[in-house]
């Protein structure tokens, strides 16, 4: 009976969503969106304040926003304050996990009931290097190619997860992670305050933006994305560390 009520409720919600989707002026038909109606067109043209005209890859220099990846330019420049809030949400959830799982001082690593053999241990060290390198590459090229601080930071965290799984005795210096996380978050806010000081508003891009497509371009965007990558990586590695420890059972 309970399941029947749940079924009816969820189907009713689905029917409502489908009905509101058809013949709605605000939702265009799937695949036939006119971008000129939306605010996104000015993000693509990079002309929120000025009007630089058409942007050409590798030729246009000093546009309003120098990132070749438009998604990155939205995440880290136009809506950077939003991203600061979301990084804070991630920090608070990591803090909650640490508070729930790691309350006592005397914790030990979750003992697996088998020992990893020689091949697994040695091979995972090599894989750790490759995954870490890929993460750093993705973070550094976040304003040119797909990727950036969020996936790159998660790749760094997953390389540390690999070491945790393959090595029985591995335990990172957790205090170092906590320090890195705090320093990265503080520098994000400091860069925002520098924008307030040197330019007009909080988190404004105060460095010259360079030529579109160069590695050293786009002003503060690479710096902020490196900070986001360090913060996300250390936070998720901290969450994994908390899940892999358990309280010392006194039997």
């Amino acid at each position: 009976m309970k399941n029947l009520i749940a079924f009816v409720l969820s189907v009713a919600l689905g029917v409502l969503m489908v009905l509101s989707l058809t013949n709605n002026d605000w939702f265009a038909q799937f695949g036939y969106v006119d971008l000129a109606d939306r605010v996104s067109q000015s993000y693509i043209d990079k002309d929120v304040t000025g009007n630089p005209g058409e942007i050409i890859f590798g030729i246009t220099s000093n546009p309003e926003n120098g990132a070749a990846n438009i998604v990155t330019s939205i995440v880290v420049d136009y809506r950077s304050f939003d991203t600061l809030g979301e990084v804070t949400v991630l920090f608070i959830s990591a803090l909650g996990v640490a508070l729930l799982l790691n309350s006592q001082d005397k914790n030990k690593r979750l003992a697996l009931n088998f020992k990893p053999n020689f091949m697994l241990r040695v091979g995972s060290r090599a894989l750790f290097a490759i995954i870490l390198m890929t993460g750093v590459y993705v973070i550094l090229h976040g304003h040119l190619t797909p990727g950036g601080g969020f996936p790159g930071g998660t790749m760094i965290a997953s390389s540390i997860l690999l070491l945790y799984l393959a090595d029985d005795q591995f335990r990172t210096k957790v205090k170092g992670f906590k320090l890195l996380e705090g320093v990265a978050g503080s520098f994000y806010v400091i860069i925002g305050l520098l924008g307030l000081l040197l330019a007009t508003y909080f988190l404004q891009n105060f460095l010259p933006t360079g030529t579109v497509g160069d590695l050293l371009s786009a002003g503060v965007i690479p710096i902020v994305y490196i900070l986001i990558g360090l913060k996300v990586g250390s936070e998720i590695a901290g969450i994994i560390d908390n899940f892999l420890t358990e309280e010392e059972v006194s039997l």
């Binding site: 088998f114 091949m119 697994l120 091979g123 995972s124 090599a126 894989l127 490759i130 890929t134």
Partner: protein, 109 residues
């Protein structure tokens, strides 16, 4: 250049097809691991070499990906085989059991 790339892509796809067929048709877990690892390793090699022929400026990234697959695929399959042995899913007509001589035990469940 493009024709060589197409040839390598078709060879890679064929090996992936054979690997999938082997996973479907093989009788027990160890045989399935063998089909799923060897065929897909060679298939990925062929597809990556085909991509390298089509776009020669990506060659360094492709070399890194090939090194990654060379290390990760056998290690993963060895870990799966070890876990299969420990969880007692071994076939009954086993000819030789070296791990039992070395003192490895099955899980008791």
């Amino acid at each position: 250049m493009l024709i060589a790339s197409y040839v390598f892509l078709v060879i890679g796809g064929l090996f992936f097809l054979l690997g999938g067929l082997g996973i479907l048709r093989m009788p027990d877990t160890f045989n399935r691991i063998q089909a799923g690892t060897k065929a897909t390793t060679l298939g990925s090699f062929s597809i990556l070499i085909g991509v390298a022929f089509a776009n020669p400026s990506w060659i360094f990234k492709i070399i890194i990906i090939i090194v990654f697959i060379v290390i990760s695929n056998p290690i993963g399959s060895s870990a799966i085989a070890k876990a299969t042995y420990r969880s007692n899913h071994i076939p009954t007509n086993l000819v030789q059991d070296d791990l039992a001589k070395r003192g490895e035990e099955h899980d008791t469940n």
